[in-house]
């Protein structure tokens, strides 16, 4: 049987790309954030993971409003990088694990989730931007990307995402192979990209979210979209992507690492947990 051995929440941002590609992780503007990724990366490697499940959101690159999935589950052997409108970075395709993807599909459909299953799928900065901080860019660990609609309302409820994480755990534990799985959730933290509050961040809310996610996550599943967007900005609704990661770990966790930094117009955070 499979086992969930860790969970990582991380912000993603287009700006992480140039930082990594130009080796600026130690620059004063970025070091307060990316210094925190260094020990988490070492811990992650030490976990000897066989698979990453990555809950993220696309930003109008893989999916368009002709057919917009609430949930899209990748079931491909490879996930190329999307060109988001400003060219691709020099990164290889990410590797998939279709056997696990189809097992996950069966388990989720049995649990009354209704994913769209994608055998061709590119991934954008929602996956590609922070992963180089956490693992070798030859991508030694295969991924199962799981895209959540957080941009075209109605978006799924926080509660639904919490239940999704619990369903991930059932899927992993019912897998016939002894694989070690790390679940990622990525998005946010607070930011707003348009309207009178353009540039809004709220470090208080972001840190409260990180606190509660670690120690008492279930009430976060009860917050409304209005709660998330008033406190974290309209685009801060992405924070709900972190809930499946936390729910998949089970009630008790141990904190491995945590960082927060808001140098621009987004609250950037990292939280690494393992089941206690």
């Amino acid at each position: 049987m499979g086992r969930i051995v860790g969970g990582i929440g991380s912000s993603h941002a287009p700006s992480f790309g140039p930082v990594y590609d130009k080796g600026q992780q130690k620059d004063p503007m970025w070091a307060p954030l990316f210094d925190g990724y260094v020990p988490v990366r070492a811990w992650l490697e030490g976990l000897r993971p066989d698979l990453f499940i990555i809950v993220y959101n696309d930003h109008g690159n893989q999916f368009f409003f002709d057919a917009y999935p609430t949930f899209a589950l990748g079931a491909s052997e490879a996930y190329p990088q999307a060109d988001e409108g400003w060219g691709k970075r020099d990164l290889p395709d990410m590797r998939g694990d279709p056997d696990f993807s189809w097992h996950l599909a069966r388990s989720l459909v049995e649990d009354e989730f209704d994913p769209t299953i994608c055998q061709e799928m590119s991934v954008d900065h929602g996956v590609m931007s922070f992963m180089p901080m956490l693992t070798d860019t030859r991508w030694p660990v295969p991924i199962v990307p799981f895209a959540v609609n957080v941009i075209q309302h109605p978006v799924p409820k926080a509660r639904r995402l919490y239940k999704l994480g619990q369903a991930f755990r059932r899927a992993v534990e019912s897998y016939p192979k002894d694989i070690r799985v790390v679940v990622f959730g990525t998005g946010g933290l607070s930011h707003q990209l348009q309207g009178t509050r353009f540039g809004f961040t709220d470090p208080n809310w972001d840190n409260e979210f990180l606190d509660r996610l670690e120690t008492d996550p279930e009430p976060l599943a009860g917050l409304s979209h209005r709660d998330y967007m008033e406190r974290g900005g309209t685009e801060g609704i992405e924070m709900i992507n972190w809930l499946p990661m936390r729910a998949a770990l089970g009630p008790a966790v141990r904190r491995i690492g945590r960082t927060y930094h808001a140098p621009m117009i987004t609250g950037y955070g990292l939280l690494a947990l393992e089941p206690a």
């Binding site: 109605p154 348009q194 009178t196 117009i265």
Partner: protein, 110 residues
């Protein structure tokens, strides 16, 4: 229906419907060849991809606020800006009713 939060449009299905052509045009710019064609001949590109005159005019006037009001999704709209070499801060400031300079001054003040 949750349609606006603290002065920002919530991108609802209804807005998605209204902005469909504009967003589709923006997404077409994820193809490098389309970006080139757009920059080389804006008017021709916008007409060819099926924008109506009002929509094409919003793009030509760099009216980012107007594009959002017309149903543009911010993640798509910034692809138009990207192709034109215009940065997110300028787009965002405009949607907030400010110039980039005003926005940066206000930020410093915080």
């Amino acid at each position: 229906m949750l349609d606006e939060i603290s002065g920002a449009a919530v991108f609802t299905g209804e807005r998605s419907r209204a902005g469909y052509r504009l967003n589709r045009m923006a997404m077409s710019l994820t193809d490098p060849a389309n970006r080139e064609a757009f920059v080389a001949d804006e008017t021709g590109y916008l007409r060819g991809i099926g924008l109506n005159d009002v929509e094409a005019d919003l793009v030509r006037r760099r009216d980012w606020k107007g594009m959002i009001e017309a149903g543009g999704n911010i993640y798509l709209i910034i692809k138009i800006a990207g192709a034109l070499g215009i940065a997110l801060y300028e787009v965002g400031a405009h949607t907030a009713g400010m110039s980039l300079e005003q926005f940066m001054a206000q930020r410093k003040g915080r």
